[in-house]
Symmetry: C2
Subunit: 133 residues, 2 copies
């Protein structure tokens, strides 16, 4: 499984937001510093989370980011699908190969089974779960 660093950063940012939301909007630079994530890149990740309605943001002085959904309703699966470039969790050759097209590809349903198992775990793990360890 390819876990893009965007997903890692995104999840960490969401955990950070959940833990610091009481102070009001949280700025990219603060999250970047706390989580040791390159600032400009984190800005893009947060922008993506924003676009998909997981967070919302405000520009200008004392602007920043906040969660738009409560931590117990944000699943790793949703973050993965949001930041993971719309790829299948198990990319069984989805781009170039004929795997999914081939009628007698005997591997296909194994990988599908794997994907279902993965999504089951990711969709049942929330940001809140991560905070509670």
């Amino acid at each position: 499984m390819n876990v893009p660093i965007q997903v890692d950063y995104g999840v960490r940012a969401l955990v950070d937001l959940a833990e610091n939301s009481h102070k009001g909007d949280v700025q990219t630079a603060d999250i970047a510093k706390r989580q040791q994530i390159p600032r400009q890149f984190l800005a893009q990740v947060l922008h993506n989370l924003n676009k998909f309605g997981i967070t919302s943001s405000k520009r200008g002085p004392n602007g920043g980011h906040r969660l738009a959904i409560k931590p117990s309703n944000i699943t790793m699966g949703y973050v993965m699908r949001t930041l993971g470039n719309n790829k299948h969790t198990v990319c069984c050759l989805e781009n170039s190969s004929k795997c999914y097209q081939a009628p007698k590809c005997s591997q296909k349903h194994v990988w599908r089974k794997v994907e279902i198992a993965v999504n089951k775990i990711l969709d049942s793990t929330t940001i809140e779960d991560l905070i509670n360890n």
Copy 2:
């Protein structure tokens, strides 16, 4: 999950070998033709399978490849680990990030859980299972 095309080719080659083993050694070119895999690349894949004892081979006229283990004992998991460049199935940032090192990485055990679930499926699926659909 990154399913390298090598793994796909390897699994298909093993299924092909299992289905054609009764005729004696099977040549790379024949598998390549039947399975529509680039010949030279398949040669490398078969060589890798050979190195790890899944197949054996013979050079020269009427040489070729054969299974060294019976299909019911070759798991997708083993093929994945053999051809998948020794990476973790779930590559939770294993290369560059601090994920596995960081003491308070709350994602780590989620990805580990995912990896265990994936391996459970792959290790319980054999080449024989694929042949029997």
